[in-house]
Symmetry: D2
Subunit: 306 residues, 4 copies
């Protein structure tokens, strides 16, 4: 079981995966992005999450990401790795690779694609935890996984020492709060919702995993610092600035899917800010066009980032 001291806390951005124009991992830009995030004061990094386009990366590309980031970070902060796949045996393959790469923790969803059941989800997390031998965080992302992890299930697995925490990207802050109030063992509750971080921290969440943190890591660490020292008013002001910036994810509108629009916006912003060389997103995502990139630039400027 995780001790309270070792609990994961703070700002842990899910690191975008920059690509070259021919869709290869751009390790140079990725390294620059890591430096940008570390300079922003983040507490840990989460690679191979949804915002990292993990669903679009081949296994070889995932390994490049792991090796690049773990190598470059060199232990300055913990690096968590997503082990995102459909079921236990496939997830265990990613676990093996991530452990070899030297990550500090693992992040797994419930099974998807298959028609699953709480009994299977329990077996899944238990098996991954035993085989991983590292702190395991449940990734609650119903929009992708089509299952909501209940507070009961999370707390049962926390009590067993199977789960060290949860990254809650469900948007259900009522559920988040029930987990916070009912937890007994040390159990990191991290919100994945970019626009309710101040309130999640207020409820007792331990940290945040913000996709938008790629674009403005300093904003999120400032928010977290304000909250940590009890200056909630300043935290709210910062959160509201970030919530307005978050509008970049809607610029793509209805001519593309939400993944294209959101991940494309993060990369377009990173490109405009000079952090990555190319804003391309993996196939089959629809790219943002120049007009849309222009609108993202204006939102960056409004947020004081250009």
């Amino acid at each position: 079981m995780t001790s309270a001291d070792a609990m994961l806390r703070g700002v842990i951005p899910p690191v975008c995966t920059p690509m070259t124009p021919d869709y290869q991992v751009d390790a140079v830009s990725l390294t620059r992005l890591v430096d940008h995030l570390l300079a922003g004061g983040v507490d840990a990094l989460f690679v191979l999450g949804s915002s990292s386009e993990v669903a679009y990366l081949t296994d070889a590309q995932r390994r490049v990401v792991l090796d690049t980031v773990v190598g470059h970070v060199g232990g300055q902060v913990p690096v968590l790795a997503g082990v995102i796949d459909m079921t236990t045996p496939r997830v265990l393959e990613h676990v093996r690779v991530a452990v070899e790469a030297g990550v500090s923790g693992l992040v797994a969803t419930a099974p998807f694609y298959t028609r699953t059941h709480p009994a299977e989800i329990r077996t899944h997390f238990r098996t991954v935890a035993v085989r991983g031998g590292l702190p395991l965080y449940a990734y609650d992302l119903p929009v992708s996984v089509h299952t909501k992890l209940s507070a009961d299930l999370l707390l049962e697995l926390a009590g067993e020492g199977v789960l060290a925490g949860v990254k809650d990207s469900s948007g259900d802050d009522g559920g988040l709060r029930q987990v916070i109030l009912r937890r007994e063992a040390p159990f990191s509750v991290l919100t994945g919702s970019e626009v309710t971080v101040d309130s999640a921290l207020w409820m007792g969440a331990d940290g945040v995993v913000p996709g938008l943190g790629n674009v403005d890591p300093h904003g999120y660490t400032e928010l977290y610092r304000c909250a940590s020292r009890g200056d909630w008013e300043a935290a709210r002001v910062e959160q509201e600035r970030l919530a307005r910036l978050f509008e970049i994810v809607h610029v793509g509108g209805t001519r593309m899917g939400g993944s294209s629009s959101g991940l494309g916006a993060f990369k377009a912003a990173l490109h405009l800010r000079g952090v990555i060389d190319c804003p391309i997103t993996a196939l089959p995502q629809v790219p943002l066009n120049d007009e849309e990139a222009g609108r993202i630039g204006k939102l960056l400027a409004s947020a004081g980032l250009l």
Copy 2:
């Protein structure tokens, strides 16, 4: 574009993947299962589909399945391969392996896990078709993929020569019929619904991909032959016998997910019929217990299969 002569037709079971008690692919049982299916008169084989537990197989296990089946079949019938993964780049990895293994066609779903869009689905299938260089079949399985492939999208891609056909496991026979009535280019329409095969053939479908065909391949080939020679009454009688047999998939009830219950039932039945050595299903599925296996035995006996 597929010529009418080359069109895929008939009974094409999605081949179950037998496993050893330690969850490895049991190549001996798999070979025996292939013989059982060929002896049942099937027209082609579909490996690495949902009924093959493809979502649970590691890449190495998928390759064992491909090599085992393609090698053993030796060209007697076409072998199609599922290339099931979340997005285009990952699917293309499976395409490469399947092509190397020498399969005759590929079966791909729309992207899943990501929040997708018709424009992205089109790009996805177009890219897979070009890179595969083999007939490509769309796999319409909303229960897993959480997107329904519309008739318009299928027919547009058929007209472009991107898709050679569809495996329709949506259960929406009205939609199936619209595709049949509106198709212009040769385009194989295959139903994946075990209990409405006679009526799908009646509507003009070209074949069936029945998970239950693992258990009773002869039943489905008899059904198809009756329909082909216009003896619809005999087809219906056979279909009704198979529909009653299909109740085995509900034996697992509510204590497990639908995948556990359905795939577990197929394997339990194959084990009871002496085709495979072990009825185990991959993790994290809930295994059927002895009482449930007993009820499956009774349903097999009622269908004249034990």
Copy 3:
């Protein structure tokens, strides 16, 4: 319990509700529509179903429809009435009115709007059956009710004598077949899917409740007669003509909801055929425009109806 003789069979169109330009029930057009349907040879009428815009009609309007149709039909054919509302107490109000109006049977959905449960659905149908004192048909319409009625639940209530049949508009013909194969008591299975009527009858369904039957009742009665005398080939030819005609429901496209598009198409077609005076649909539906009405006219002409 219904005796086999009294079982509902044949073509039972859900009668559209024509309206005046100021959104009142147009009893004159409604009467003309009833004559059109009776002249088409239908076996019964179903008023206040989804195709009747029941969800849009006030209680007073529902009563006008009931009185107009029951009065005009004068016992020539049975008239079934939808008693569509959120829960048991509200449904019972509609039951009382329908019984007073002299209908022959009642059609009810599971509860909706509330978060329901099979135990509640059973109580619901049992209560409605007892209070109605008329044959009760379950209306399985997951697209509206957001619950699928399982074969087990339907057959349990059939066995108790609570349900006299089901109108299955779920599109799940595999589920429909399981009900047909497993029923023991007399239990009318009626499909609500306009484009798979021949195959549903082939499976043993007793009849059809086709919204498109408003537009072409003769087509559906011809289809049913062909099937009844075993001329399945002729049934299929007729069904395929009707399936092509059914494309009228998609003319409205994505600028409106499916209800606006489908119900608007039926009414536009009835108007073009001279059966009703005004094609208007109830608020807040989006009306079809002239160009769309023109395309519906072309599809009618192609089907030989203009």
Copy 4:
């Protein structure tokens, strides 16, 4: 358009509808409940909402509720009325009755049961607002209505003066915040989530419509007062007590639907607290049993309410 002064603010409980053992509205208990709420210091009352079992009440019962509450309150606080029905014409009937009864504002959902569209939702709210002539609040309840009201749609209708506010029971506090940040006209944002009231107020929400407020109105008014005077720490302590109390809604577990469990718990608690005579809920809800009522009693005691 609402002026800022007239904006609805504070604690506005959705008033439960007590019933007699034969399922009639218990006006005596209802009056007692209103007194209990007013004594608890609530700012307004919302009758005929989901927590009022509006979906289960006949039109006559709804009228009894309106007359009883409006009459008894006698203008001490505003009374809002839910006008919950499937579509515009049916909602307008409820509007007429509510206006006659003398309510101060109306609460309407988007259309449900029908397959709807944003263009239709706009027409719906515009029509209801014009005909009602009273402040109109949108009720965002995707679990019942199966549509989520987008921030864009709400703000467009706010800008037009159609909507005076929203009752957000979607659980999506990120969406709630976007509405708060982007609103320009006076527009009341009220959360319907019982366990995140402090954080919603922190974000700038104007009030809360808590079902649990029936059981403990004083708790919610205390929470609101603490927040209003900037004592957020005290607000959080009170919220956490209420969040623990909210566990009563899960006591019914999986043997009933969520409506039965939640509404049954509120009524059981009101009965145990001596506010209403009978804890019965409308058909077809599953009643809580004695053991479950006992557990509710313990949770009440833990919250200091027994």
